[in-house]
C-alpha cells in the first residue's frame, strides 16, 4: 500500500558566527512554511536578533517541522517568533516539531518564542534538544495554552507532548518529558494541572550558573507572577536550581502573566550573566 505524504516538511537551519565582537547570521536554509526575517541589531552589532515565523498560520496533523540553530564561539543571539504558534485539531495524523540547538563556548542564545496555543483535538509532539559546549549559555522559555480558552474551549481530546533535553559537554543536565492527554484526570487534579489551561517554563543553563550565588537566587525569588486583570484566576509557580541551571515553572490561566514574570527574572539576570541590560523585543 502506498503511503501518502501529507503535511508540510518545514525546515529552518540557522548558523551564527561572531567576528571582532559582532555576530552575524552566517548561513540560513529555509523551506516553507518556516522562515526567518532579516536579522536586526537593536542592541548594537554584538547581539544578533532574529524573528522566525510559520507562514502557514498554524501546524496541522502530518506536519514535520525541523529547526536547527548553531552558534559559533562567542556568538550572541536573541531569537523570538513573530506570532503565537497554533497547533490545529488533528486530521488523524500527529504533527511533529523538532528543534536542535548547539551553542559553542562563549556563545549565548536567548530563545524566547511567543506562546503556543494547542487546539482541542490536536495531536502534537515537540522535541527540543540543546547542546552546550564549555562556557556556552542558553536561556529559553516555553509557554503553552491547552485549548482556546478565550472561546470557552478546553483541551478535551488529543495529546500534547513536549520533550526537552539540555546537554553540557556530553552530560545530560535536564530532561523534561511532558505529556498531557486531552480530557484526562491530570488536567483537573491538583497533582497535575489543577484546572489551569496555561503551563510555562523558563530555564537558564550554562557553566556560569554553577557559581549562582544564594543572594542572586533570593533576588530572583522576590519576583512573582501578578495579574493585570481585575478578576485574576488562581496560579501557582516556583523556582529551583537545576544542574548548572535555574528553572521557573508556572501554571495558571494567563500567558501574559507568565511571560511578564519570566521577563522580570530574565532582566534581573541579564547583567550578571550576559553583561548587558534588560531588553524588550518590540514584536511583543
Amino acid at each position: 500500500m502506498e503511503t501518502a505524504v501529507t503535511g508540510w516538511q518545514g525546515l529552518l537551519e540557522l548558523e551564527f558566527a561572531a567576528q571582532d565582537g559582532a555576530t552575524q547570521l552566517s548561513r540560513s536554509t529555509m523551506q516553507a512554511p518556516l522562515k526567518v526575517q532579516r536579522p536586526f541589531f537593536p542592541e548594537g552589532d554584538r547581539v544578533c536578533h532574529v524573528v522566525t515565523l510559520h507562514t502557514a498560520g498554524g501546524v496541522v496533523g502530518g506536519d514535520r517541522l525541523s529547526t536547527q540553530v548553531r552558534l559559533g564561539p562567542n556568538a550572541q543571539v536573541l531569537s523570538t517568533t513573530a506570532t503565537a504558534g497554533k497547533i490545529y485539531r488533528s486530521n488523524g495524523l500527529t504533527a511533529a516539531q523538532n528543534t536542535q540547538i548547539r551553542v559553542a563556548s562563549g556563545g549565548c542564545l536567548e530563545w524566547l518564542p511567543q506562546e503556543t496555543i494547542v487546539f482541542d483535538g490536536a495531536d502534537y509532539r515537540q522535541r527540543l534538544r540543546v547542546d552546550l559546549e564549555d562556557d556556552a549559555l542558553w536561556l529559553g522559555w516555553e509557554i503553552t495554552r491547552l485549548g482556546r480558552t478565550a472561546r470557552g474551549e478546553t483541551f478535551a481530546s488529543g495529546e500534547w507532548r513536549s520533550h526537552t533535553e539540555v546537554w553540557h559537554d556530553g552530560k545530560l543536565l535536564w530532561v523534561d518529558p511532558q505529556q498531557v492527554r486531552g480530557g484526562s484526570s491530570v488536567m483537573t487534579s491538583a497533582h497535575g494541572l489543577g484546572g489551569c489551561p496555561v503551563v510555562a517554563s523558563f530555564a537558564l543553563f550554562g557553566r556560569r550558573l554553577d557559581a549562582f550565588s544564594p543572594d542572586l537566587l533570593t533576588q530572583v525569588r522576590q519576583f512573582h507572577p501578578s495579574s493585570q486583570l481585575p478578576n485574576p484566576s488562581p496560579f501557582d509557580y516556583a523556582i529551583t536550581r537545576l544542574q548548572s541551571g535555574l528553572l521557573c515553572r508556572y501554571r495558571g490561566s494567563s500567558t501574559l502573566e507568565s511571560r511578564c514574570w519570566f521577563t522580570q527574572i530574565w532582566h534581573l539576570l541579564r547583567p550578571p550573566l550576559l553583561g548587558r541590560p534588560g531588553y524588550v523585543p518590540r514584536i511583543w
Binding site: A190, H191, A238, R241, L247, R249
Partner: protein, 234 residues
C-alpha cells in the same frame, strides 16, 4: 496483568532487607512535597493523600523512575555498563526540584556505601554509575542494581520499591496531616492495586512513551525550599 511473583526463601529475605524502613538511608526525613501541601492547606485528609499518591504513580515522575529501574535492572543483568551510566544520568536530569535531586543522591550514596560493605562483588556495577564521592548516584538506580545483582525477580523488586516509597509518603502524611496510624495502614493497603498497576506499566513502557505530567507535584517540591518551617528535608 500479571503481578504474581515467586521468590525462594533467601532472595525473599534479601528483598525484605532492601525494602525495609530500617534500611539506613534516611527515607523517613523526606516528604517529597507533602509538607508544602499540608502547610498550604491543600492536603486535608487521607482521601487527598490517596489521590495524590495514585496520580504520582500513574502519571507523575514516579512512573518514569519505575520505568528507568526496569532499564537499569536489565542493564545490570546483561551487563551493559554504559547503559547504567546513561540511566543514572537521565534520572538525575529528571529530578528537577533541587531537594528531590539531593534526596535521591543522598539516599543513593548511603545505599551505595552500605552495599559495597555488605557485598563487594557488586562494586563494578555501582562504579559504572559513578563513584560514591561524585554524590550523584540515584537511590532508585542503586536499588535496581542490588536487586539484579542478588537475582531478585524484577517484578518483585519493583513492587517492593514502590511499596516502600508509598509507605514512606503515607508515614509522612500520618505525621503532617495528621492521620491515625490505623488510617495510615488502611491507606497503604488500599494503594496496593495502584502499586501493582504502576509496576506492570513500568515494565511494558517503551522508551519513546516516556512522558509524565506532575506540575502540581513539581511546584510543591520546589516551593518546599522556601517554606518558613520545615520538619522534612523535601
Amino acid at each position: 496483568m500479571n503481578s504474581e511473583v515467586a521468590l525462594g526463601g533467601e532472595r525473599l529475605l534479601r528483598l525484605l532487607q532492601l525494602a525495609s524502613p530500617a534500611l539506613p538511608v534516611g527515607a523517613y526525613s523526606y516528604s517529597e512535597g507533602l509538607e508544602t501541601l499540608v502547610t498550604r492547606e491543600q492536603l486535608p485528609d487521607a482521601e487527598g493523600l490517596r489521590h495524590w499518591i495514585e496520580q504520582e504513580l500513574a502519571v507523575g515522575a514516579m512512573r518514569l523512575e519505575a520505568a528507568v529501574m526496569v532499564r537499569v535492572y536489565e542493564a545490570a543483568i546483561a551487563p551493559e555498563l554504559p547503559d547504567l551510566h546513561h540511566w543514572n544520568q537521565w534520572l538525575s536530569a529528571l529530578r528537577e526540584a533541587e531537594e528531590l535531586r539531593l534526596q535521591s543522591w543522598q539516599m543513593g550514596r548511603s545505599l551505595y556505601r552500605l552495599l559495597l560493605d555488605l557485598d563487594p562483588n557488586i562494586a563494578p556495577l555501582l562504579k559504572a554509575c559513578g563513584e560514591p564521592s561524585d554524590f550523584a548516584v540515584n537511590f532508585a538506580v542503586v536499588y535496581a542494581i542490588a536487586a539484579a545483582h542478588w537475582q531478585i525477580d524484577q517484578r518483585a523488586a519493583l513492587l517492593s520499591y514502590l511499596h516502600s516509597w508509598v509507605s514512606n509518603l503515607v508515614n509522612a502524611g500520618v505525621k503532617l496531616i495528621p492521620l491515625g496510624q490505623t488510617a495510615g495502614q488502611r491507606l497503604l493497603l488500599g494503594l496496593a492495586p495502584a502499586i501493582a498497576r504502576a509496576t506492570d506499566e513500568a515494565i511494558a513502557l517503551p522508551a519513546d512513551e516516556f512522558g509524565a505530567c506532575g506540575w502540581g507535584q513539581a511546584i510543591a517540591c520546589m516551593t518546599h525550599e522556601t517554606l518558613y518551617t520545615r520538619l522534612f528535608r523535601s
